[in-house]
């Protein structure tokens, strides 16, 4: 199955300020993406913007897929203006997704901001494993998918920077407190996280401190999405690795932070 295809917009819905959920219908049958996989999306037909934009798969529903995105620059702005019927050029699914958790592990999902998009996809996949979810955002208004998580049987532990919902403060501290209060041996936990760099960085400190294992999804500017431009590398203990190819999901201990 070719990974270059066209997909038409089924729906492009504003969820909250600047956040959109787009549903795409591929013109051909495509591979089913795994949680943590991503698609490169050409938001327009001209030569500006030039490059495709990477977005994590959020949901896969009967051959259609959904992306959850935030308007941050010109590409996402243009994407937000797309209407049902518009057709987009897409490449994917790409990258290495989240590996399945080993048996007997207590899965801890950690989402920061829009990192919730792929984390939800993972949650859906392993809902029968009763994962825990730690989810932090700036403020109550930017919380997404709470009902959807609940309908998977997951009750999110939430924190907001301004305290407008859940605990006030950052979610890694909330997770830390949870771990200190809990008696399970750390080897029983496994982390699956996606969020802003500062959150992942803090999580990696926590993981080192508590000797936790787990996986994080990284972001980096991308040109090709298929491993050839070498543009998207991150520093790892084994040298530069490509987010689009060896990632976006990496074992948490592998990443070297500046």
């Amino acid at each position: 199955m070719n990974r270059t295809f066209k997909a038409s917009v089924v729906e492009n819905k504003k969820l909250i300020n600047n956040h959109y959920l787009i549903t795409l219908n591929p013109a051909v049958k495509i591979r089913k993406p795994k949680p943590g996989n991503f698609f490169m999306v050409a938001v327009d037909t001209g030569l500006d913007p030039l490059l495709k934009r990477p977005f994590s798969v959020h949901r896969w529903i009967d051959g259609n897929f959904q992306l959850l995105y935030r308007v941050v620059g010109k590409g996402t702005k243009i994407l937000s203006e797309k209407k049902p019927g518009n057709v987009l050029d897409i490449l994917g699914p790409l990258g290495k997704g989240f590996p399945a958790p080993k048996k007997n592990r207590q899965v801890i999902l950690v989402a920061g901001g829009l990192g919730v998009a792929p984390v939800f996809s993972m949650a859906e996949n392993i809902k029968n494993r009763a994962p825990l979810l730690f989810y932090g955002t700036k403020t109550k208004k930017s919380l997404l998918l709470i009902d959807e998580f609940r309908s998977l049987g997951i009750d999110p532990t939430v924190s907001t920077d301004d305290g407008s919902f859940g605990t006030k403060g950052n979610i890694i501290n909330v997770l830390k407190r949870y771990l200190t209060r809990n008696s399970l041996p750390v080897t029983r936990y496994v982390l699956y996280a996606c969020g802003p760099e500062v959150m992942l960085h803090a999580l990696s400190h926590l993981a080192t401190e508590y000797k936790l294992k787990g996986y994080i999804a990284m972001e980096q500017n991308m040109a090709c999405g298929i491993g050839t431009c070498l543009g998207c590398v991150v520093k790892t203990r084994k040298g530069h690795k490509r987010v689009c190819k060896e990632g976006p999901v990496f074992p948490i201990e592998e990443i070297v932070w500046d």
Binding site: L50, L51, N221, A223, C229, C232
Partner: protein, 308 residues
């Protein structure tokens, strides 16, 4: 105009015979294998691999790329697996492809260039060498090899004397008079020229006031630079007798044909591979259609056919 049936796409770059004039630009096609899923590699005129050095290179820290209007800046920093690993891990696959394999390479010193050329020349399955002289020269304060005519001449002749393979020299466009550099390369023994490499550029994040690339500056590629590239191909083709491989912003067969008309004998597709991984095959098809609709039987008739 009658539609032509017999379309001859064959071109010759020095001693090197290609089944068609469409190659890949170094650094934009990896070592070929990643693209096998998107394009039948056997249909390509040649695969030019990511720039190689004697030793593996880690390249620059990220961020390494940033988009610009109709273009992109890259500062990969010539990350590569090194010639030895290339030979061991990538050549077996490339040898099986029914296309030409061109090894792009570079060094920090003239000696490194020579050693790299010698090593690559002994490898079964490498059809030609492309030397990238847009790299800083350790011996002269990290000034680019390709911007000082004397150094340029020296490094090219040294490499010339160390290989019997067709030698393509890839010029740096960041010079006052590209046609002068082209003549220098020809005099030094180049069999063909590749142009252009990326334009030196930069972008700054106005929120953080930091350069958007960790390396501060980077190379500008993509459609934005096409007018500069076309002009340089045209200027050089008037001044040298060796064939030119044109590149810089080609995104369609129309662009490729524009380069051929301006004076190129073949073209290389770079940044466009990132956007449409199957673009090379489409460009070959497009050139064929153009020739057919215009009643042109050999692609050689297009090269340099500009009417000024």
């Amino acid at each position: 105009m009658p539609k032509k049936k017999n379309i001859d796409l064959k071109v010759q770059i020095g001693k090197l015979k290609l089944k068609n004039p469409v190659m890949t630009a170094s650094g934009t096609f990896g070592y070929g294998d990643e693209y096998a899923e998107f394009v039948d590699l056997n249909t390509l005129g040649a695969i030019v691999v990511k720039g190689l050095s004697l030793k593996p290179k880690q390249g620059n820290p990220p961020p390494r790329i940033v988009e610009t209007p109709s273009g992109m800046l890259n500062a990969i920093g010539l990350q590569n697996i090194g010639i030895n690993s290339f030979i061991k891990k990538k050549m077996p696959f490339l040898r099986e492809c029914k296309t030409r394999v061109i090894a792009n390479f570079f060094g920090d010193t003239i000696d490194e260039y020579v050693k790299a050329a010698e090593k690559l020349s002994s490898v079964n399955g490498i059809d030609a060498l492309e030397m990238n002289i847009s790299c800083p020269n350790k011996q002269s304060g990290w000034i680019i090899f390709g911007t000082d005519p004397k150094v340029t001449y020296k490094v090219i002749s040294a490499v010339r004397n160390s290989t019997n393979l067709p030698l393509i020299v890839k010029l740096s466009p960041n010079v006052t008079d590209i046609s002068h550099m082209a003549r220098v390369a020809e005099d030094a023994g180049a069999d063909a020229l590749s142009l252009i490499n990326t334009l030196s550029g930069m972008a700054v994040d106005i929120q953080t006031r930091k350069p958007k690339l960790a390396n501060i500056t980077g190379g500008l590629s993509g459609p934005a630079i096409k007018p500069v590239a076309i002009r340089m191909v045209w200027e050089c083709s008037k001044k040298v007798n060796i064939p030119i491989i044109g590149m810089g912003g080609i995104i369609s067969s129309d662009d490729a044909i524009e380069f051929l008309i301006a004076g190129a004998s073949a073209v290389a597709i770079g940044t466009a591979n990132f956007i449409h991984p199957g673009i090379t095959a489409e460009i070959i098809k497009g050139i064929r259609n153009y020739m057919s609709s215009k009643g042109i039987s050999s692609v050689k008739e297009i090269s340099g056919s500009i009417k000024c």
